[in-house]
């Protein structure tokens, strides 16, 4: 029966290609949707991840950076620096706002960094200075292409004019674009003189980040301190939880669509070959064997479609980076496994669709004209 299945599929290669492409389209939709959420989740933690401080210190009760506010009195920077095991404590300010230029508006997190301290800043530059001088800003390079900005042009951040000192790369995403201005400028903008948002702590060699974080919490009043990995995990989990339900529904729709498409192909094969099936039945082939053949056919289509969707997704990632740089895409093992499991389930469910047709085939029809 397996030979028959393969032969039947290969007899109509165009139809096989069309079936696989259509089902792959359904899987690709699910993968792309998951990829967008995964890509955004990665970008949400980009600043923490790329800054690479051992411990992050923030206001007590705060455990995130994304979509939250943290304020710590500035005297605590010195208090943290004095804790045993701390090599360096670097304060930053952080706020979310809109940036305007050339009639466009972007949502952005703005980080205020000490002008003479390169500890924090963009990790990849497209043009200009990596560290903003007073009155200047380093903004994602996508702003340049969106609004035709050049170095030295003006952007409005929180209602105040800033000169573009540099364009950074890998700092733009839908939910978490990052711009950099000088610490003093942002303090003015936020009316937050005497406060910092986060303190980045570099540990002395050999000091365990978790132990250092615990020590800071114990010795400096009303602060929270988290090792970088834990801080990253907190923000990543927010992004994942925000998209969980919508991803589940999109997987459901994409899966249902794939079931219907695969089911249609298998059903079409059965209806087109009723005479052959009748001959088989007349020759003593059991319904069970025919079901197995249908399952094999569905599994081949589902499997090929899954592989094609993965290949298309792999091709889509670099293409998207070039053609639609605002979209951050990432593919996770979880997403691949989920879509793979969906493909398997889809194939098996789809094979059930033509069952009634198979059962109703009368072996006698093999001998009728």
């Amino acid at each position: 029966m397996l030979n028959w299945t393969l032969r039947e599929l290969l007899l109509a290669p165009q139809q096989l290609v069309a079936s696989v492409a259509a089902v792959a389209g359904a899987f690709l939709l699910v993968l792309f949707f998951e990829g967008v959420f995964a890509g955004e989740s990665v970008q949400i933690v980009a600043l923490i991840d790329k800054t690479d401080a051992d411990v992050w210190v923030m206001q007590k009760g705060v455990g995130n950076m994304h979509m939250t506010t943290s304020f710590v009195s500035d005297w605590k920077v010195d208090a943290v620096a004095e804790v045993e095991g701390v090599a360096k404590a670097t304060p930053i300010l952080y706020m979310n706002t809109t940036i305007e230029a050339g009639g466009r508006n972007w949502f952005s997190y703005v980080v205020g960094v000490e002008a003479n301290d390169p500890r924090v800043g963009p990790w990849q530059m497209a043009a200009g200075a990596a560290h903003p001088s007073p009155g200047g800003a380093v903004v994602p390079e996508i702003f340049a292409s969106d609004a035709g900005l050049k170095l030295g042009d003006t952007v409005r951040i929180g209602g105040r004019d800033f000169r573009v000192d540099g364009f950074s790369r890998d700092t733009f995403s839908m939910a978490n674009s990052i711009s950099f201005v000088s610490f003093g400028d942002l303090a003015d903008l936020m009316n937050s003189l005497g406060a910092v948002s986060y303190i980045l702590v570099d540990a002395k060699p050999g000091v365990d980040p978790q132990a250092l974080a615990d020590r800071i919490k114990a010795q400096v009043e009303n602060v929270n301190a988290l090792p970088r990995a834990v801080f990253v995990a907190h923000d990543y989990s927010i992004a994942v939880q925000m998209g969980l339900n919508i991803i589940w529904i999109m997987t459901l729709i994409g899966g249902a669509l794939a079931v219907l498409l695969t089911g249609f192909v298998v059903y079409s094969h059965v209806t087109e070959r009723e005479r052959e099936l009748a001959v088989m039945k007349a020759l003593g082939v059991h319904n069970r064997s025919i079901y197995a053949a249908m399952c094999a056919q569905a599994l081949i289509i589902g499997g090929l479609a899954f592989i094609l969707s993965l290949a298309l997704m792999a091709a889509a990632m670099p293409l998207t980076a070039v053609l639609a740089p605002k979209i951050s895409l990432a593919i996770t093992a979880d997403a691949v496994m989920r879509v793979g499991a969906t493909a398997l389930a889809v194939s098996l469910v789809a094979a059930v669709i033509p069952v009634r047709r198979i059962v109703s085939v009368d072996p006698v029809t093999a001998f009728q004209q």
Binding site: A12, Q14, A18, S19, A22, G25, A26, L28, L29, F32, Q59, K60, G61, V62, G63, N64, H66, M67, T68, T69, F71, T97, T98, R104, N105, W106, F107, R156, G158, G159, M174, A175, M190, N191, A195, E221, N222, H234, S237, I238, Q241, M242, G243, N245, I246, I249, M250, I253, L257, L260, L261, F264, V265, S268, T271, E272, T320, I327, I353, R357
Partner: protein
């Protein structure tokens, strides 16, 4: 040819049903995406429009209500109230916090209001009038199993849930509401107390205009008198927030919609290709009877359009069901599926998909040999 197309559809109802269901699933998926986009923009608009008042004051240069930070001087309220044409002012402070319970985290925007700017609709319970009371959106209540009377701990401060609001969320973030008395209590008793200087006490000021005074005139008057504020009409802020939402979401949603349209055209193409293959002999007979390729293309096109026409209402029904399901599972989402603009757009795209799909078996139709009709 339409009669032929109709007969073909009725000849194998099982196959027709499968195709209609598949096209409906594609349309449902497109409508859910459209609904997600429309709902996101509606939520962004509502965030400020639901707060009431004629004019909204923000920090100078701030032109949005959601997703931005605004801090006003406390004295601004007195200065504005002294102006002619101002009937009343209503302060509003906005805090971004993250609610944590176990391993689960949810960002929340807390609105601190006085007498205006509170929640529009309560699902259960009451407004947060007593000290320490908080009204939370049903998306928070549902995700964490909270009800009026329960304790809601934010930044180590124990609020008491007074009520659960409906439809108070934007950009996947629910809102919560407290009064200024509770805010002061929160600042002094929670972990943020020692760093209170940096926290906002006044983010926006809502202004009621005197009867007969145009809000735009009042806004201009306020900006002239108080130079460090931006005075905007709620509708302007709502439009700015919506535009910001479009800037954020449109690139991604447009790609997803483009992928859906392609998948839809591919699926319809598959169906039509299979239809031509299955009916090669019938089509050969038609060619032998003198029907031209154009006639046959017309029949296939007619069939594709009929299938799509049957799938559209079903797709809308499925999408409406899914929209309700998503909103019920997670009320932070708003998915208005039956917005006429999105419906017409999707129906139009469905027709284009049908036409594109019907062209897939074009080559097979053109190569169709009338002799097929006479082969065994």
């Amino acid at each position: 040819m339409l009669t032929l197309a109709l007969r073909n559809l009725l000849h194998r109802p099982g196959r027709t049903l499968l195709i209609v269901l598949a096209i409906a699933a594609i349309l449902a998926e497109i409508l859910v995406l459209e609904g997600f986009m429309t709902g996101t923009y509606q939520q962004l608009r509502r965030a400020v429009l639901s707060r009431g008042s004629d004019v909204v004051l923000a920090q100078k240069g701030v032109h949005n209500f959601v997703a931005t930070r605004s801090i006003l001087r406390q004295q601004v309220r007195t200065e504005v109230e002294a102006l002619a044409g101002v009937v009343a002012t209503h302060p509003l402070a906005v805090l971004s916090l993250v609610y944590v319970r176990g391993e689960r985290r949810m960002p929340i925007i807390v609105f601190v209001y006085d007498d205006t700017g509170g929640p529009r609709r309560l699902a259960v319970g009451q407004l947060p009038q007593s000290d320490g009371a908080i009204a939370i959106d049903q998306s928070i209540a549902q995700r964490f199993g909270l009800a009026p009377g329960d304790t809601f701990t934010l930044s180590a401060y124990d609020f008491t849930v007074s009520g659960v609001t409906k439809g108070e969320a934007a950009i996947m973030t629910p809102f919560a509401f407290i009064t200024f008395d509770t805010l002061i209590d929160f600042y002094f008793n929670s972990d943020v107390g020692s760093d209170i200087a940096a926290f906002p006490l006044l983010s926006f000021l809502f202004v009621d205009a005197a009867p007969g005074l145009a809000p735009a005139t009042l806004a201009a008057r306020i900006e002239a008198a108080v130079p460090d504020v931006s005075a905007r009409l709620p509708a302007d802020l709502a439009r700015n927030d919506e535009n910001l939402g479009r800037e954020l979401f449109a690139p991604i949603l447009n790609v997803l919609l483009g992928l859906s349209y392609t998948a839809g055209a591919l699926a319809i193409g598959l169906f039509m290709f299979a239809a031509v293959r299955a009916r090669q002999r019938v089509l050969g007979v038609l060619r032998a009877l003198g029907f031209t390729t154009r006639h046959l293309i017309g029949a296939i096109l007619g069939e594709a359009l009929m299938l799509t026409a049957m799938a559209i209402p079903l797709g809308v029904l499925i999408a409406a069901g899914l929209g309700r399901l998503i909103e019920r599972l997670d009320p932070v989402y708003l998915l208005p599926i039956t917005e006429p603009e999105a419906l017409f757009r999707t129906a139009g795209v469905a027709v284009i998909m049908a036409v594109a799909g019907a062209l897939v078996p074009l080559r097979a139709l053109m190569r169709l040999d009338p002799a097929t009709a006479f082969r065994g």
